[in-house]
């Protein structure tokens, strides 16, 4: 039972990541390969503020979101002018820079050692120490993010995003500053990813740089492509499938290091097969 709750918590966290990435890749057509970086910004900010400054989880989470917004705004200024594979490469570069900072700013992040002993969240004297309570918390956040994404997609802003995806040049002719739209949605997605990071850090109570590196961004991309681009339910399905799938590998009984590599292999293979044979995934309304 505890194991199932643990998996459900993970699915909630990854559903947040997948839905927010889908705003970028699925709805706006921007292939971002840096989502794990903002996930990491949220996780590290929460970890540092809670452990070393005694901040409340919810305040730390909010500050994490603000830092993710600032960071995404700065890098977004550069990459929002790009499109296609250049956008992808530019964003990938940012993921590597953030990873390098986590790894090398040792006085702040303790580098490869990571930060252990992050406390659990507390609200009005109640501590979310049990896993059921934590599931309720992360599920609530997932629902909030889902509703926020729904709202964004349904708004006129969301319609402009889809128009950018279909024909950015045409939209420019109508006088839309498309790079502003691309910048704003990039920042919004980063903010949500940072929320997921805060939930992850406080749940696992440990963060280290490798969790927020390129393979994680690739995993998130496989999730949303498998579930289907431009479909929020699809992202949740994709997150659930790819969280549960490696658990099957665990039961087969591979040693840990090999299982980790096999997982990566499967994520890569999944992307290639989907791109070749079913680019719209399970429920996608758009294919790259």
């Amino acid at each position: 039972m505890d194991y199932i709750i643990h998996l459900l918590i993970f699915i909630s966290i990854y559903a947040i990541l997948a839905m927010s990435l889908n705003l970028l890749v699925g709805y706006t057509g921007l292939l971002s390969v840096t989502h794990a970086a903002f996930y990491g910004v949220g996780a590290y900010t929460t970890a540092l503020l809670m452990k070393f400054a005694g901040f409340n989880f919810f305040i730390a989470l909010a500050i994490g979101v603000v830092i993710a917004l600032i960071a995404s705004f700065l890098i977004g200024l550069v990459i929002s002018k790009l499109s296609g594979d250049y956008y992808a490469l530019g964003s990938l570069g940012f993921n590597i820079i953030v990873f390098t900072i986590f790894l090398n700013w040792q006085t702040l992040t303790r580098g490869p050692l990571g930060i252990p002993g992050i406390p659990r969240p507390e609200l009005f004297g109640f501590t979310f120490s049990g896993n059921i309570a934590y599931l309720a918390l992360s599920f609530a956040f997932a629902v909030l993010v889902y509703l926020a994404c729904r709202f964004i997609i349904g708004s006129s802003f969301g319609r402009a995003l889809k128009a950018i995806r279909e024909d950015e040049e045409a939209l420019k002719c109508f006088g839309y500053h498309t790079s502003v739209y691309k910048l704003v949605i990039f920042a919004i997605a980063a903010g949500f990813a940072s929320v997921a990071g805060a939930l992850y850090a406080s749940y696992i109570t440990f963060v280290d740089p490798t969790t927020f590196y390129l393979p994680e961004s690739v995993l998130l991309l496989s999730m949303i492509i498998l579930g289907g681009l431009s479909n929020l339910q699809g992202s949740v399905i994709g997150a659930a499938v790819l969280i549960l799938l490696p658990e099957a590998l665990r039961f087969v009984g591979f040693p840990d290091t090999i299982a980790a590599q096999l997982r990566l292999f499967v994520y890569g293979l999944l992307i290639v097969l989907l791109m070749l044979y079913r680019p719209q995934g399970i429920r996608g309304e758009y294919k790259l």
Partner: protein, 286 residues
């Protein structure tokens, strides 16, 4: 003793290494027009072929390097035929091709890590001869890297400018559709381009393996240094690629003069970002 000669030598070695990577990268980009992350994986694969042949069969470096280059070349063509060509036939965008290449890249890296562990491995004999040069030290493998860079550059120059194959490559780079209409076998030319560019990637991987060492994750660095050099130089242009490679080599080595070498990736991407904002078409505009 001044550190300057050593910094310059190191920059030239890095520039020559990136030149090797970028030459192959640009050659393929010119005809296929997408950023191919698998280019880096092939360097790692060739490195591991040499490592495997040396460890298991005691094969010496020259024959095993030849087999490594051949292996990278064959694998490059197989991936082109199985993944990229079908996607391009369907009119996939460069972003889709890049994403798919990232998928293949992830698979290859995982396979290498499963077969050979994630450990850092050294290729060839460690205590290679060293030469002094105006107070700077350069090893024999590093001299070979510089010579290989010059050799591959000269060969490609002749191949592209003096042969029918070169003319066909240029025609496809200009406009694939028109090239096909006037009777160029675009499919076989592109396959050959992939074979050559993958082979060069393999050579680069082996030389890096002898100079520094190999690791399953090295493919990412090979791809990124190649892609950044190519974009900074003017993507698809092999001469621009050489300029970009040396610019990157000097910037990285002089950059880490004052700060730790661990920040090298940040310097490389800093340069990429500067170019993407200020001069997106690179030094040599096409």
């Amino acid at each position: 003793m001044s550190i300057l000669p050593q910094l310059i030598i190191n920059s030239i070695i890095a520039g020559a290494t990136y030149t090797l990577i970028t030459l192959g990268f640009n050659l393929a980009y010119g005809t296929t027009k997408f950023l191919n992350a698998v280019h880096g994986s092939l360097a790692a694969v060739a490195g591991y072929i040499v490592f495997f042949l040396g460890r298991s069969f005691g094969l010496s470096i020259v024959p095993s390097a030849a087999l490594g280059i051949f292996g990278a070349s064959v694998l490059g063509v197989v991936i082109w035929r199985l993944v990229f060509r079908p996607l391009r036939h369907r009119g996939a965008s460069p972003a889709v091709l890049f994403l798919s290449s990232l998928g293949v890249f992830t698979m290859i890296q995982a396979v290498l890590a499963i077969l050979f562990t994630s450990q850092f491995q050294q290729l060839g004999n460690v205590g290679s001869p060293r030469y002094e040069f105006f107070g700077a030290v350069i090893t024999k493998p590093q001299v070979i890297i510089i010579l290989a860079g010059i050799f591959i550059f000269a060969t490609l120059f002749i191949l592209l400018n003096k042969t029918m194959f070169g003319k066909a490559v240029k025609a496809i780079a200009d406009d694939e559709e028109v090239a096909r209409i006037i009777g160029i076998q675009t499919d076989s030319v592109t396959t050959l381009v992939f074979a050559i560019s993958s082979g060069i990637a393999g050579l680069a991987g082996i030389l890096i393996g002898i100079d520094i060492g190999i690791q399953p994750t090295m493919g990412l660095w090979v791809f990124l240094e190649g892609a950044i050099s190519a974009i900074v130089g003017g993507i698809g242009n092999i001469y621009g690629g050489v300029l970009g490679s040396f610019l990157l080599g000097f910037a990285e080595n002089f950059g880490i003069w004052k700060i730790s070498g661990a920040w090298k990736p940040a310097i490389a991407f800093g340069i990429l970002i500067v170019f993407l904002t200020l001069r997106p078409k690179g030094i040599v505009r096409n």
